[in-house]
C-alpha cells in the first residue's frame, strides 16, 4: 500500500523487565504512550507485523511466577489474545519446557502469516498463522551439536533469525553456539562460524561455540550479513562461509546490537560497549556507530545523547523502522529510550525511567486506531 504524506504513523514498542510500553507518533517527534502492559512480567521479545493489512503486535511475555507465553494484539494493545494451549510449547517427546522467547521475527512481505521465533532453551520455531501457533524446528533441535551448545550470561537461546528473500536460506545465531545456516528453508543446518573468534574457549577458532550476539542481513547484497560478536564485529560476503572483521574504526568491538538498513546496501548500526568485563559505553560516552560502506569505515553518532551513560544496550533493545529516512531507536538497561528520525544523525529521548529495556521494535503503520491513553 502506498502511503500518502501525512498518513504515516509510527509505532514504537518497548519491552522491559517489568512490562511493555507502546507509543505512537505522527511524526517520530511527539510520542503518545500506553502502558505498562503486562505489568511485572518481562518482555524479552516483540515483533510488529504490518503485513496482511493490519498491525499485529506479538510479544514474548515471561513472568517469574507464571512462566513464559506469547500474546498478540491487533488493536495496538487495547486487547491481547493468548492461545489457550500456548503459541510456543515444546512437544512432549522433547522433554523440554519453554523458558523465554527471545525473538519474534515476521518473515518477508511475500510470505504473509509466516513468523519465526527464537527461544530458550535454544530452539527455532515457525508459525504460518501470523504468530498464533508455532512449530518447533526439528532440524535444529535434533542437531548433533546441541549437547555442546552452552549458555551465555543471559541464558541459552536462539536470538537472531534472518531469512533471505526467497525463503530458501535461513541464518540463526545463538548464544552460545554461533551462527547456523540452512540452505533448505530450515530443514537442515550447518555451523557457519569460520573467522569468528571464540577467544574464551581453548580453541579460539572452533567450528561452533561462538557467542555471536546478533546478526543482521544486508538489505541489498545477497549473501552479505553482519555480526556483532562477544568481542568482534564481522561481515560475511559469502553467505556465512567466511567472516572477516569490520571492527576497525570502532572504539570497541564488544556490544550486542547489530542493525541494518531496510533497503540500502552497506548500511548498518552498532552500539559499542567497552568490553566483556566492562559493559558500559567506552569512557561512559554513549554513541551509535553507523557504516555506509559495509563496515570499511564507521561514523560516530552521538548528537542528542547524554554526556554520561553507564548502562548497556541489549541485543534486541534496538530497532530501525522502514521510513525514509530510516528511524533508529534504542533503549538502555537504565530505562531510557532514544529515537532518531534521520538514520542516527540526531537522537532525542523519548522515554526515561522505565525498567531495564530488553527489546525495542519500531514500524510504520497506517490505518490503525489511536491508542487509548
Amino acid at each position: 500500500m502506498e502511503l500518502m504524506a501525512g498518513d504515516e504513523k509510527y509505532l514504537l514498542a518497548i519491552g522491559t523487565k517489568k512490562g511493555l510500553w507502546l507509543a505512537t507518533s505522527p511524526d517520530r517527534k511527539e510520542w503518545s504512550f500506553t502502558g505498562p502492559h503486562f505489568l511485572m512480567s518481562e518482555i524479552p521479545s516483540v515483533g510488529i507485523d504490518t503485513r496482511d493489512g493490519r498491525t499485529r503486535i506479538m510479544v514474548g511475555v515471561r513472568s517469574e511466577h507464571w512462566g513464559p507465553t506469547v500474546a498478540h494484539s491487533d488493536d495496538l494493545g487495547q486487547t491481547w489474545t493468548e492461545p489457550d494451549n500456548g503459541a510456543i510449547t515444546f512437544p512432549e517427546d522433547t522433554g523440554a519446557a519453554l523458558e523465554r522467547v527471545w525473538q519474534i521475527y515476521p518473515d518477508k512481505e511475500s510470505r504473509p502469516g509466516v513468523v519465526w521465533a527464537g527461544a530458550e532453551p535454544i530452539s527455532v520455531w515457525k508459525s504460518t498463522d501470523g504468530g498464533e501457533h508455532f512449530e518447533l524446528n526439528r532440524g535444529l533441535w535434533d542437531h548433533p551439536h546441541r549437547s555442546e551448545w552452552g549458555a551465555g550470561y543471559g541464558g541459552a537461546a536462539a536470538h537472531s533469525i534472518v531469512v533471505n528473500p526467497d525463503g530458501g536460506q535461513v541464518h540463526v545465531a545463538m548464544s552460545t553456539g554461533g551462527v547456523y545456516r540452512s540452505l533448505d528453508g530450515g530443514t537442515s543446518w550447518e555451523a557457519r562460524n569460520k573467522g569468528i573468534s571464540a577467544y574464551f574457549m581453548p580453541d579460539p577458532n572452533p567450528e561452533f561455540g561462538q557467542c555471536v550476539h546478533k546478526i543482521a542481513a544486508d538489505a541489498a547484497v545477497d549473501g552479505r550479513l553482519y555480526a556483532q560478536n562477544h568481542h568482534g564485529v564481522y561481515r560475511t560476503d559469502d553467505n556465512g562461509d567466511t567472516w572477516e572483521s569490520i571492527a576497525g574504526g570502532l572504539p570497541a568491538d564488544f556490544g550486542f546490537v547489530m542493525l541494518t538498513h531496510p533497503r540500502r546496501e552497506g548500511t548498518a548500526w552498532v552500539v559499542p560497549l567497552k568490553a566483556d568485563g566492562e559493559r558500559i559505553p567506552p569512557d561512559g560516552k554513549l554513541a551509535v556507530h553507523r557504516t555506509d560502506d559495509a563496515g570499511n569505515s564507521w561514523t560516530r553518532l552521538d548528537s542528542g545523547l547524554p554526556d554520561h551513560e553507564y548502562n548497556s544496550i541489549l541485543r534486541d533493545a534496538a530497532s530501525v523502522d522502514t521510513a525514509e529516512p530510516v528511524g533508529v531507536y534504542f533503549g538502555t538497561r537504565g530505562g531510557t529510550v532514544y529515537a532518531s528520525d534521520d538514520e542516527g544523525a540526531n537522537f532525542s529521548e523519548v522515554a526515561a525511567h522505565l525498567p531495564d529495556v530488553l527489546c525495542v521494535r519500531a514500524a510504520v503503520i497506517s490505518g490503525a486506531p489511536a491508542p487509548v491513553v
Partner: protein, 97 residues
C-alpha cells in the same frame, strides 16, 4: 459413588484466568492427586493451567500449592493425595524485585 468437592483457592492475580472465580470446585469420586486435580483444570481453564505448570507437567518454581495448609513440595509434590472436602490453595512465592 457420590461425588465430593475439592476446593481450589486462587490468588487474585490468577482469577481472571478462571472466569473471575476466586475458588474453583473440582468434583471427585475418590482419591485424587494434586496433579490430577490440576489436570482437570486444563479443559476449562487451559491458560490458568499453563501458569501453574510447564509443558512437562512440572510445577513452576515460584508457584506454591498447599493441601489443607501443607505445602506439597514437603509432601509428595504433585503426587500428593487429595480427597473430597480438602482445600488446594495456590499462592505465588515471594520472589523478584
Amino acid at each position: 459413588m457420590a461425588s465430593e468437592v475439592i476446593e481450589i483457592v486462587l490468588p487474585s492475580v490468577l482469577q481472571p484466568l478462571a472466569a473471575g472465580n476466586a475458588v474453583l470446585a473440582a468434583a471427585v469420586e475418590g482419591p485424587e492427586t494434586v496433579g490430577t486435580v490440576l489436570d482437570s483444570l486444563s479443559a476449562d481453564y487451559p491458560v490458568l493451567a499453563r501458569r501453574l505448570r510447564d509443558e512437562t507437567g512440572a510445577l513452576r518454581r515460584f508457584v506454591n500449592i498447599y493441601v489443607d495448609g501443607s505445602e506439597v513440595r514437603r509432601l509428595d509434590g504433585l503426587e500428593t493425595p487429595v480427597r473430597g472436602g480438602q482445600e488446594i490453595l495456590i499462592i505465588q512465592s515471594v520472589a523478584g524485585g
